[in-house]
Structure formats: C-alpha cells, structure tokens
C-alpha cells in the first residue's frame, strides 16, 4: 500500500486543493492565544498523580498505594512542601519549576455520583446535568460573538485529534478532526462529485467540508510514524495538535482524548496501566510544547478527568470510582509553579461520604478562567451561554498570564 506522503505527491500535493471553495485558511487572527483541552477518560487517580504527602493521614489512608515522599525511593517530586508530583511526571515537573504548569487539587465537576459516562457527559456538555445539552461547552464558546470578535470568520477554529469529535467540541460550530491514515488520498474528481452529493445533507455536508479543510491543513505530514503496531496514539495526537495549533493562521483550539485511566487493579509498579498512562501524559505534554514552538508561549493546556478515585485502595491494589481529584494546566500562558487547592484533608470525616476526597474547587472555575483568558470571552457570555446557571462558580483569578 502506498504511503500517504507518496500518495499526496501522486495526486499533485497542494495543487489538487487550490481554489476549492470552503478551503480558505483562516486569515491571520487578532488573537494568538491557544487552548488545548485534554480529557483523561476513566478517572485519573489524583491522589497518585499529585500525592498530598504532607497530609498526616495520607500514608495511612492510601496504604500500599501511597506515593513515597520526595527523597525516598520511587518518591514524588516536591511541589510545595505539602503536595508532590508523581515520579513518572518528570517533564511536567520541569514545567512546574519553570512556572509553566499549575496543579489543581480536590477539584471536581458538580457531579456527585460515580458513573464514568454521566460524569464525562456532564463535564463536556457544560450544564450541571448529565445529558443537559446535546453539545459541548467548548463548541458553544466558539459560537459566541465574543470569540468571533477576536478571530477570523473563515476556516475551522477548532480541531479534534482522533477519529471522533469528543462531546466537548461537538455542536453548531464547524470543527475539524484529524487522525493519522495510511490510505491513499481519494482522487480530486471523486471529491468534487461527492461534494455535490453531500450538499443537500446538513450532517455529512458539514463533515465533508471540514474534512477537506483538515486534509489540506495536514497534507504532506508524514503519518507513517507512531501508529503502527503497538502505537502510543496519544503522543502522536499531541504532536499533531501541536503542529495544527502552531500554524500562525491555523485553529486556536484543540481537543485530545486520552482514555484508559480506570485503574481498578494493580496501580503500582513499573508496568501498571497507571504508570504507563502517567508517562504517556508526561510525554504528550512535552510533545505539545516542542511542536507548538513559539506558540507555546500563548498556549494553555487544560488536563482534566471526570472524577478522582476513592481515597482508600480497593481489594485489588487499585481504586474504585471516587469524587474529587487533580487537574493540570500547562503552557506559556499559565502562571504556574503553584498548587491551587483548598485542601479538605483525608481524615474519615473530611471525606465525601466517608469515602472520597471532598471537592472544594469546581472544574468550571478553571474552564471559565480559561475561556476568558484564552478565547476572549466576557463574563456575560460565559454565564449565560457556555456554562448556564453557574454564576455562583467564580472563575479562578490570576491563573493565566
């Protein structure tokens, strides 16, 4: 099978696309600011990723799963004398030291039950209810007049990396999506004829238009690496996101899905799923920084999960579904180097339902601050359109430069 790059040459590369309607790139935009939404699906164990080693109850509550204190073998990196960063997050620790990573803890959405699917849906749809809306808050934000004011009117402003568009980016505003392929590019005449067929189809017509735009944007990219065999797609997707957002006239928003955080068993050890995921997360963040190049300076990467995990281990060396957990914000646009947490403690009475880390910070406070700083949204739009009914949740102050 011909490689994609060869196929592109075969069909004349860019020539096939020049002059096609609907393919104009976004004109240089007023705003340089970028936002990446990375969703860790499955429920990242915040008490492992960001161990509160200074909490007197931590070691006892976590038992064998307690991450050793900084300085011990396999210990965490120290963040502030109370919180540490898991030893598998070495690159992120460097970012923290460079004040380009902020850590949030005891943070959760308004959801208080323990279903992955409802929890994810609620976080993505932006209302305080599972299935409260059929589209995502990031898409709503892209549709506001505040966003339009600071950005070009043509071309997709947002990109989902992966085969499907996550709910957070779905909605009325056109969104691009892209994932690596090894197939030859369809011929230009076929595409023209298909364009006519799709014209009368609102759903697929729109998808077709953004697909062509995405292909034009990514063409020439060698996609042979990283996806064959035992692929580590998330790092590859981070690389693609960095390349797309790094373009001066490209989209400003990207979403990356990263699944596999539902660690009910055997969290410890070199080869556990949690260890592997943390390392991939670390590499993904570093890859984003590298591929974004100078644009990293203007970027904020939100790294969130649907819930944390129970404070105590379950019977299998893992953890069951919990409530509050940790989140990260990385990027040159972040005023990092600090942990933002109103720490509730891990004593049995301090726990939510005597079981989970109690939420003291609402994820929407982070999202709202990011929308204001990175996408130029004003409070009115955020309160009424993007996160309806959330006025009581104040945006985090001073998190973005």
């Amino acid at each position: 099978m011909t490689t994609r790059r060869k196929a592109l040459r075969l069909f004349g590369g860019t020539a096939a696309f020049i002059g096609l309607p609907g393919l104009a790139f976004a004109a240089p935009t007023a705003s340089e600011r970028r936002l990446v939404f990375m969703f860790l699906r499955g429920g990242m164990d915040g008490l492992s990723a960001v161990p509160p080693y200074g909490d007197p109850q931590y070691a006892a509550r976590r038992g064998a799963l307690a991450v050793p204190s900084p300085g011990s073998a396999g210990g965490a990196f120290d963040l502030d004398g109370h919180f540490g960063l898991n030893g598998n997050l070495g690159e992120m620790h460097k970012l923290f030291a460079a004040r380009e990573l902020a850590v949030l803890h005891a943070i959760a959405s308004p959801y208080r039950d323990r279903s992955h699917f409802d929890a994810q849906n609620l976080i993505e749809n932006g209302t305080a209810k599972p299935f409260g809306r059929e589209f995502g808050w990031l898409n709503v934000a892209l549709g506001t007049s505040d966003f339009a004011r600071g950005h070009a009117s043509s071309g997709a402003q947002a990109f989902a990396l992966g085969q499907s568009i996550p709910l957070v980016l779905r909605g009325p505003v056109q969104v691009g999506s892209w994932s690596p392929t090894k197939m030859p590019v369809p011929d230009a005449d076929l595409l023209e004829r298909l364009a006519a067929l799709y014209r009368g189809d609102p759903l697929l017509g729109r998808s077709f238009a953004v697909a062509r735009e995405a292909q034009a944007m990514m063409e020439g990219r060698d996609t042979g690496d990283g996806m064959g065999g035992q692929a580590q797609p998330v790092v590859e997707l981070a690389r693609a996101a960095g390349e797309v957002l790094g373009k001066p006239d490209g989209p400003r928003v990207a979403a990356i899905d990263f699944g596999g955080w539902d660690t009910h068993i055997s969290q410890l050890g070199e080869y556990s799923q949690l260890t592997r995921n943390l390392r991939l997360l670390d590499r993904s963040v570093m890859t984003l920084k590298t591929t974004l190049g100078p644009a990293w300076r203007h970027t904020a990467v939100l790294i969130v999960t649907e819930f944390g995990r129970a404070a105590a281990p379950n019977g299998s060396g893992g953890t069951d579904h919990g409530t509050a957990g940790a989140a990260f914000v990385a990027g040159g646009a972040v005023r990092g180097g600090r942990v933002i947490a109103d720490w509730p403690g891990l004593g049995i009475r301090a726990l939510h339902e005597e079981r989970d880390l109690r939420p003291t910070l609402d994820l929407r406070a982070l999202f709202k601050a990011a929308l204001a700083a990175q996408l130029g949204l004003r409070e009115a739009a955020i309160e009424t359109e993007v996160f309806p009914g959330s006025r009581a949740v104040r945006p985090l102050d001073g998190l973005f430069a």
Binding site: R114, A160, S164, L204, V210, A211, A214, S316, D320
Partner: protein, 470 residues
C-alpha cells in the same frame, strides 16, 4: 419495492446483499420475525476458533512470559512500547484476534439471518467486554459465542447470567479480584509482587456496571450502598485460572466459596438470604425483570433500531412487552417490529464503521475476499476496531459520534480504494437501485449515471449520504 423492505434489509438487517431486498420484499416484517423465531444459522467459520476454556488454558504460559517482561524491563527507564504487559499479550495473541475478526466479519457478510446477527452485535455491545484490557484479549470472541449467541432468542435473564459468569466479563470488570474482607489465598501461592498484590477486599467494578449499564440504567434508582452490597453478593464469582492460580487445570467460571462474603444482604429494597452462588443468581434474576431494566433496554433498542432520539411511544411499547413477558426477547423484538415509528423514516440512522464496512461486504460480494488484516486496519482507522470498545459502555449508537470530518474522510478513502479494486465487478447504479431504491435522492441517482467509470460510480455510491445510513 417498498420503503418498508428497504428499512428491513438495511436498518434491521446488515445491508442488502444481492437479491435480498427482493426476498424480503413481499413480507418484510415476516422476513425479520422468522430470523429470530427460527433456528440460528450455523457458521462453520466459528468452528476452528478457541473456546474460552481453551483460551484460558494458555493463560499460565502468558502470565509466565509477563513475569519475564517485568523482570527484564526493570532496569530500563523508558521501556520499548511493545515490552509492556499488554504488548506481551497482544504479541502472542495477535493472530488469534485476527482470526476472530475475520470470522465475525465473514459471518456477518454472508449470513441469511442479518437481523439476528445485528441483534448479536447489539447484545454483545450491551454486555461489552473489550480487548483493550489485556487479560480479556483472548476471550472477546468466545464471549460472544458462549454468552450472547445462545440467548439472543431466549430470555434476557439467561443472557444476563451467562454474560455475568463468563470469564471474559469476570476478568474485564475485575471480579476475580473482589473478595470478602480478610480473605487469604489458600493452597495457592500468595503474590509477593507489589505490582500484583493478592486481593484482600471488595472491588466494586462489576457490581456497579451491572446496575448502571447491564440492567437498571444509571437513573435506575440504585445507591452507592446498593453497589457495595451487590459487590459483596458476587464475591467469589471468579474465573480460573487467574493471576495467582497458575496450576489450575479446570479453566472457566468458578464460584469460590472461600472468597464469598457470607450472610444475608439487603439491596434495592429486598433481602437476599441465599447462600453461595445462588444469592448472586437470585439478585441477577430480579434485576433482569426489574421495570427500570425494561425501560433501559427498551430505550437502547429503540435508539438502535428507530432513531438516535428514541420516540417515547415506541420505548413505552417495547418496555411494556419486556415487563409483561418477563424479558422474553422474541416478544420484545415483536413489539419493536410493531412500532409504527420504526417504519416511517427511512435512513434515520448513520451506520457505525463496522456496520458500514459489513454493508459494503454484503453489497459487493467480490469484496469478501479482502484480506482480514486490511479490513481490521480500515476499521481501526475509522475508529471502531472490532472487539476493542473504548469502555464498558460499549460503542456509541448515535450519529454525532460517527459523523466527524475525520471519520467521514476515512470512509471516502475506503470507498475510493474499494471501487478501484472491485468496481468492474458490479453495476453500481443497479446495485444502488436494488438496495435503496425509493429512498435514493435524485442527485445521487444522477451522479451514478454520470460517473466517468463504473469504478467511480461505485466509489460515489459507497460514499453517498444514503449508503452511510440505514
């Protein structure tokens, strides 16, 4: 040719095979009913595939090799991607998985009972076990054959029990690691590994997903207390061999009384004082006929067969049939087929990637000779690698999940390749007319007539808006 027959073969079936629309044409509902009321077709292609027992027999060998990985990799700071636990399982089992995928696609491509086969997919997705989890990699195919297929025309309760006690489900949702408080391994070597400690208490994963996903549904009225109590009920439901039972010689589901938390349990308003495995069976049988379960299943069936937003009247009708028949599935399917909403709107559902590729295989028989590796890679690229659902919730069943630009682009790429390879073997305009007839748009009809070649016409048809739908 009626719209009803187009709906029968494309939406309820797996996409029209040559001549199928004519066969279904005179009595489309009867054509569907006889598929679920008659005997299941035999699929010789499944005969050579491993049973779960055979697959489990090989586990000790894999687990031993896993030990080598862990030891061998201890000194490396960044292990090579394939030298992981998952990598080891997949390296050793890759060929088996390919055979499973090939057999499943082959059965679907040529089955004379496509409605029944679609129901197998529906239920296998309802009771998702995913090869994303390495331990389950070798069991996903046998799960479908052993726990789902025998019960597709039976009672929901029996399928629920079969699925719950299948080793694939036990291992996927960690119930082999859920034990009563204070349990100590006996007669087995206790694990000294910190990475894989012996279990010593509950793991509520399976109990929660049974309530949330398999039976009552997330709004079905259960509490965290019910989850925990149910988890206690099914302690001891395990599979052999598991991590620490390497020398076990009777592979398969196993109820281990020693791991079971004894005593009566109260959940969902009832008290269960049975002992041993019968306690869990009793809870499952009650869950299977619970009104919330009826509503949950009815909603999912209506979403799959009628529309992404299921019409409430149809849901109510199907749920009533479920309740009144105690979950007798042929009665439930009959209610589904009786819903007028099911026959009103053609092309209401966007095909998922597997549905799309299988409908291509059915429409163009020459394609069935395609290499299984190629089909597997194509489906992976489209975002639906067979047997690798992303979570216990299974694959999504609404258009927006599959209609993104990249997903559509992958279908167009595929249509282009397919047409170049086999376009000369078919008459695309006729193929389209004989499978989608009255539901075809004039624009599409005209485009097929004006195509510059048969190959291009076939690419246009397989990528057309109509053929993306069912």
């Amino acid at each position: 040719m009626s719209i009803e027959s187009v709906i029968a073969v494309n939406r309820f079936g797996l996409g029209a095979a040559p001549g199928e629309l004519a066969a279904a044409g005179t009595d489309p509902r009867g054509w569907l009913s006889q598929q679920v009321n008659g005997a299941a077709p035999a699929y010789p292609v499944f005969n050579k595939l491993a049973t779960s027992g055979e697959a489990l027999k090989a586990y000790p060998r894999w687990i031993a090799s896993l030990g080598q990985v862990v030891r061998g990799g201890a000194g490396e700071s960044t292990p090579a991607p394939s030298r992981t636990v998952e990598g080891t399982f997949r390296e050793q089992l890759g060929p088996n998985m390919l055979e499973e995928v090939a057999a499943r696609l082959a059965a679907a491509a040529s089955t004379p009972a496509p409605f029944r086969e679609r129901l197998v997919w529906f239920w296998a997705n309802h009771f998702t076990v995913s090869a994303e989890k390495a331990l389950v990699f070798a069991l996903t195919g046998s799960f479908e054959r052993e726990a789902i297929r025998p019960h597709v025309s039976g009672r929901f309760a029996d399928m629920l029990l079969a699925a719950t006690r299948h080793p694939a489900m036990i291992l996927y949702l960690d119930n082999h690691l859920s034990v009563r408080k204070g349990w100590k391994p006996q007669g087995l070597r206790a694990s000294r590994s910190t990475a894989f400690p012996s279990p010593n208490a509950l793991n509520e994963n399976l109990a929660r997903e049974i309530l949330e996903l398999h039976t009552l549904g997330v709004n079905g009225g259960y509490t965290q207390g019910d989850v925990t109590e149910f988890a206690r009920v099914i302690t001891g439901w395990t599979a052999r061999p598991v991590m620490f039972d390497l020398e076990d010689t009777s592979p398969g589901f196993h109820f281990d009384l020693g791991r079971h938390e004894p005593g009566p349990r109260t959940l969902l308003g009832g008290t269960y004082s049975q002992e041993g495995i019968t306690q869990g069976e009793a809870v499952l049988r009650d869950l299977a006929v619970h009104p919330a379960t009826a509503l949950h299943i009815a909603t999912k069936l209506a979403r799959h067969f009628i529309a992404d937003s299921p019409p409430p009247d149809a849901v109510a009708r199907i749920a009533r049939a479920f309740r009144d028949s105690g979950g007798h599935l042929p009665t439930v399917y009959a209610a589904l087929l009786d819903c007028p909403e099911a026959w009103q709107q053609p092309l209401a559902k966007l095909k998922s990637p597997i549905e799309y590729v299988v409908s291509c295989l059915r429409a163009v028989p020459a394609l069935r000779a395609a290499q299984p590796q190629a089909l597997y890679a194509v489906l992976r690229g489209m975002g639906q690698r067979p047997f690798f659902a992303p979570s216990p919730q299974g694959w999504p069943d609404t258009a927006e999940a599959w209609a993104g630009g990249d997903a559509l682009w992958k279908r167009i790429e595929w249509a282009g390749i397919v047409a170049a390879r086999v376009g000369s073997t078919v008459d695309p305009a006729r193929l389209a007319a004989e499978s989608y007839g009255p539901t075809m748009n004039t624009e599409t009809r005209r485009a097929l007539e004006r195509a510059e070649s048969r190959q291009q016409a076939l690419a246009l048809w397989l990528a057309s808006p109509e053929f993306q739908r069912r």
